[in-house]
Amino acid sequence: MKINNLTVQGFRGFNDKKSMNFHDKLTIILAPNSYGKTSISEAFEWLLYGKTSRVEKADSKEEFKGSYRNIHFPEKSVPFVEITFLKNDNSEVKYCSKLNNSETIKRFVDDKEVKSWPLDYDLSKIPKPFILQHALKYLLLVKPDERFQSFALILGLEELNLFHKDIVSFCTKTDTCIPTDVKTLISNIDNIECRVQRVKSLENIAKEFKKESLNFNNINSAIINECGKVVGSGIANNQIFQKLKEIRENKISKYFKGNLQILEYSKEELKENLEEEKFFFSCISQDTIKKYTDLIALSTFQFILEKAAFFDMGVNFLEKDKKECPFCGQDIDENIVEHIKSNHRNLLKEKKKTEDLQNQKNEVLGIYEKLKSRLNKYNDRQIEKSKAFLNLDLNILEKLKDIFYPDNEKYYKTIKGIYKKNNELVKNIVNSKGDVIDSIETIKKSIEESKEDSKLIKDLGENISAYLSNINLYIKFVMSKNLDSVEADKILQGKLDEKAGTEDISVLIDLVGQLKNIKKKIKILAILNSLKQFRKIIDQYVTSKVLEIISGELTSEVMKWYSQIKTDGDPDVHFSGFDIERTKKGELKARRVQIKARSYDKELVSAVSSLSESKLNALGLCVSIAINFKGDSPFDFLIIDDPIQSWDSEHETQFIEIIRNLIEKGKQVILLSHNAQWIGMVRKGCRTINGRFYEITGYTKKGPELLESPWISWKARLQEVDAILKDNRASIVRLQQAEEEIRLAICDITSDIFYNKKKIIKNPGNFNSTIVRKLLIECGVNSNLIDRIYQTFETTDESHHPSISYTTQRQRIKKYHGWCHELAQYLEK
């Protein structure tokens, strides 16, 4: 797509609505600084991308808030930018962006609102058709990582860049994903290693731990060797641990036996406690109470059982002789027989009920037996936690005082405190447990004696509650004192080892006990350390991918453009290609794009440090141009804003050739500059293109004052023709150029004549022979002259191009030249 028209209102430097038409090849906009020139390139950028690169790259976006809207533009009005594009099929399409108060944008295509531009391209992935003043800064003169990112973006490797950044970020901060269990394991083994370092006799083991590359087998062998020195030969490996402990226990036992640790509760143990307590309470539930109280009925049924047995016998006798009563021997009739049998049947039913109750009695007895048994086990499990303290007495405490004092007085006090409190809590538990057991026994007795009483269950319930309340206090105590006791015990064991000379054995016990964990730690560290290699491989992969493109294709493309800017007089200090920095070993350095330069066949440190500012500018331009020709894009235009920074005149001239080449390659160039002299050279150098030329002649609150001026003045054109005609060696191409200049001059003169006569501006760029003829007639120009002027167009098409078979002639040009001057005289009238 090319740009036909730009209309702007209320955006950046533009307040009033302004419209500009663009030439399909070259449009130049000349403006002094601060006259709104950059607002034009920003208008294009903002419409296409929703933001400008200046804002995008700003460190502080706050400073640019509200900056798209012209400050003088009425508050209620809506700023907009509208571009009419010319598509490849020569149809037009109008894109419009409107800026809402909330800084959001509404987009319209041919006046219909759209969510995004209907382009078959992701605009973020194709090169932007802009070469802006600050483009160089963000491409070359930035930190290496930013440069890499910029290159990745423009080479279409943004995905690769982001992927790489993710991997680097991950490899740099693995601490956050190490699970707590793993960290704890590593920390525990680290502690053991520290202790190993402190024991001189274990230096062989210490050496193994200090090696950069840990080998578990070597560590294991060193440990087993040292253990062998302590336990003697002939002890199997799986018995070493036990043997070491025995040896140590033996040696320290004269000072102290056992340990001072209150054992902590695991989650499973606490869960089990809850299950048990649930069971305890189920023994005093309504259901159990009912089963218990039902048993009261058992006492009244004893008589029934006996009676049933009596009637069983009677019915048996009746079977033998139905006429005689089995109880008194008298004669009986059928009615009495039936009466006896009926009583018997009823008694059997009652007997069944009694048997059921009997079973229930056994069941209830079983419940309370189980309660007693489980309560005992539950109780033992709890008390086990502070067993170490239960084994203490005042004598032992005195011994401990000698061991702890004076350096570790506070630990002794901790131990003493735990001992006292533990005794108190355990005593309460024992007492309350006793009450529960008594209650259970009382209930059992009441069942045996058929003297059930629901109050007994109530008492049991109260005793269980009191007992569990004491247990809860105890559990809280255990959980709060576990760590203190472990710490104190650690000090104690250390002191005991000192006294008994068993430090080395103590460390060996820990090492042997933790062999599996040592192995795990080594493996874990190996995995974590290997991430350096992981990152390196990916660094190399990513960098190779970038290198492939920049050192080959990109370098070659940039060189093509760069070589066009070089002049004969240039010192031989030039850009020589793109590369990736390398280490001393020749490996690629990640994310370090190098811009190379050479000076008289010698490689320089870098282009950035060696090339002059103007050459760097030129290089930045060439990179931007090369990128724009790379790959597919819907845009056939290139907006170049102030390209020649710090350039001398020779290089400025060379760039004009670049502009011509861009146009020849099919690009529509829109060139903005403040350099009037250079722009004059561009127009002259691109004279035959006959593009559009705008000047911003002033700037007020309303915005820039735009004036479209002739590409080249007709006088200058005719002077050029004159020069060509005087040159006898002028080639056919030059003669053709002269003819074209004459026609263009005629169009300009016609436009001026028409303006003088009618005060209406007509664009000479759109003139053809018919239009020229018509306008001249309207202006009253001599008809003979009009015919002759018309004749000058005979050998060209509507675009003033001569036909293929046409051959230019010096004489004819001279004639046309004269007619042109004749027509120009009408401007003086």
Binding site: L160, F170, I524, Y541
Partner: protein, 55 residues
């Protein structure tokens, strides 16, 4: 398109990785949640080491 490009990178890199854990890590990469996916896989690997040595 992006997913396919990333998959291509991952496959090419996988061929260069000799370490099984590295291959697992790179295969676990998810563009939608890159750091989470990698950290999660590393966590899994470390926990496997913790539990596998007990056997």
């Amino acid at each position: 398109m992006t997913k396919e490009i990333i998959k291509q990178y991952i496959d090419e890199i996988s061929e260069k990785l000799k370490d099984q854990y590295h291959r697992r890590l790179i295969q676990a990469y998810d563009k939608e949640k890159p750091l989470i996916s990698l950290e999660s896989e590393l966590e899994k690997i470390l926990l496997e080491v913790m539990s596998s040595e007990d056997q």
